[in-house]
């Protein structure tokens, strides 16, 4: 259909970014079961729309933005008590399951989940995705000042949470 959107491009971005996006989703979401769903959906959305976009170098930015948005939707729905992306991961092999289980026990993850959503998002984008504060502000639709504030408060809260006896 679209010229710029070849399977090669898909494969290429998959190899380059899929795993880090999985991490991004895992850090943003409060349940790991949805991580891969979210990343898959992000890939599908961005790539099925890719045809009309001439800026492949922005793919990662689009993917990240979509993961952030989908993760928020996930959280929102969970708050509403609705079941999101409810289909179980059908293909999750036991090896990955192990990794997900470990993740559930990770102290940092636990502490991150205790943060306010905005704080968590800022920290993850800033320090996991290595975005600049300006990029984070743009991605989250916040002012630069808010990003700084959420970031410093987030780190402080994280520090407290992780120093508490486990």
């Amino acid at each position: 259909m679209a010229a710029g959107t070849t399977v090669d491009h898909l494969t290429e971005t998959y190899r380059a970014h899929y795993r880090s996006l999985l991490g991004l989703a895992a850090l943003l979401l409060d349940d790991t079961a949805s991580c891969e769903d979210v990343v898959q959906e992000a890939f599908i959305r961005v790539h099925s729309a890719r045809g009309r976009v001439r800026e492949p170098e922005k793919t990662l930015a689009y993917l990240r933005q979509t993961v952030v948005n989908l993760s928020r939707s996930a959280l929102r729905r969970r708050i509403l008590g609705l079941k999101l992306l409810s289909k179980p991961m059908p293909d999750m092999a036991s090896a990955e399951e192990g990794a997900y289980e470990q993740l559930e026990r990770d102290q940092l993850i636990t502490a991150m989940r205790g943060l306010q959503r905005r704080q968590r998002e800022v920290l993850v984008l800033r320090y996991f995705a290595d975005m600049t504060e300006a990029q984070v502000a743009e991605t989250l639709g916040l002012s630069l000042g808010s990003v700084k504030a959420y970031g410093s408060r987030g780190i402080a809260a994280l520090r407290v949470a992780m120093e508490a006896p486990a």
Partner: protein
């Protein structure tokens, strides 16, 4: 993962990538929560370490290779579907109206209701004695009845212009090009992003037709996409006939000739901060019912404002509309229809407005239309 560090846990490096060259800090003084304890570098390592073992499922790439072309196909089909729905709607409406005018309003209502749960909620809230709900079926979404929330993340049309990433890309008020597919990334407007809802109605023309609009502003600081048409609910008040008030989507060739051509409606409306969308509507009184729609059916239903105090010079002005002289009993309460708009993202209703002197008829509504900021 091993996070049992005898010292302050924050001093621990990323658990799994110990080989990254960073020195382990196992030996540091326990609990040194100095501000540097969880510094930015440490947080980077911790975050990476925490998810380092996550691996894509074995066939993740395969799934994508199948899913991406499938999604493209669905998006194409969705577009075709929209066109078909518009054409069908145009053809079917006269039939629906016929049914309606013979008393089957409730049925008609359901044919136009995509979000029955909203209807239920409003009914539960006792919004009015007769609530007709015009949820718009979305031609681009999977079959009615599928949970909207669950579906939100997976709509095939979820790709729209992304103004958030490229703020310079589209000047504020422009109607986004539905063909621009980057909005995958522009999040749908949360309910709390929408505010300053207003409803306005114009003056009735000689036949009692009233045009108006709801206006809803993106009060947040982010760009967002209007999730869908939302609902327009009509509630009969006073002596208005709730069984004969209905809400339908505006279609080409219907009686609401003053509304914009629905085929020109944008498939997505993206709101810059401060920008508003409008849902326009028209109140068309039931035929043969005079200006209010049911002048003949219920004596005296044509309301006088308040119905109570005879206006000064009553004999001169409103004789045609006000057969009060013939009323034996107390005057009936004035008939009016209250319209309310609820955004697609859900309750509560964001705006309402009242159409006075309305008793029976049909509300035609548009989808969300972008306005200049």
């Amino acid at each position: 993962m091993n996070q049992q560090f005898p010292g302050g846990p924050l001093r621990g490096e990323g658990p799994v990538d110990g080989g990254s060259g960073e020195g382990r800090s196992d030996g540091t003084t326990p609990g040194a929560p100095e501000s540097g304890a969880l510094d930015e570098q440490a947080l980077r390592r911790l975050l990476r370490g925490a998810v380092d073992e996550l691996e894509p499922s074995a066939d993740a790439l395969e799934q994508l290779r199948r899913a991406v072309p499938a999604r493209r196909t669905r998006r194409r089909q969705a577009l075709v579907g929209v066109a078909a729905a518009v054409i069908l709607g145009g053809a079917a409406l006269p039939a629906l109206l016929h049914v309606a005018s013979t008393g089957g309003i409730t049925e008609e209502r359901h044919t136009n209701t995509a979000s029955a749960h909203n209807s239920q909620q409003e009914a539960d809230e006792g919004l009015g004695d007769g609530v007709a709900e015009g949820g718009r079926a979305r031609p681009d979404s999977p079959p009615v009845g599928k949970d909207r929330e669950a579906d939100e993340g997976r709509r095939p049309d979820g790709n729209k212009p992304d103004n958030e990433i490229k703020p310079s890309g589209s000047p504020g008020g422009s109607i986004p090009d539905p063909g621009n597919t980057f909005a995958a990334i522009s999040p749908t407007c949360d309910r709390d992003q929408l505010g300053r809802g207003t409803g306005t109605v114009g003056a009735a023309d000689k036949d009692g037709r009233v045009y108006g609009a709801f206006r809803v502003v993106n009060i947040s600081r982010s760009v967002c996409t209007v999730a869908g048409p939302g609902t327009v609910a009509a509630s009969a008040r006073g002596s208005a006939d709730s069984a004969r008030v209905s809400v339908v989507d505006h279609t080409p060739g219907d009686a609401a000739t003053g509304l914009p051509n629905p085929t020109a409606e944008p498939s997505e409306v993206i709101l810059q901060p401060g920008q508003a969308y409008e849902v326009k509507f028209a109140w068309i009184p039931a035929p043969d019912g005079g200006r209010s729609g049911c002048a003949k059916n219920t004596g005296g239903a044509t309301p006088s404002p308040g119905g109570s105090a005879a206006p000064p010079a009553a004999g001169a002005s409103a004789a045609e509309n006000r057969p009060t002289a013939a009323d034996p009993g107390p005057p009936p309460p004035p008939a009016s229809v209250v319209l309310s708009h609820t955004p697609d993202v859900g309750e509560p209703a964001i705006a309402d407005t009242k159409i006075g002197d309305a008793c029976a008829g049909t509300v035609y509504r548009t989808g969300p239309l972008a306005t200049a900021p």
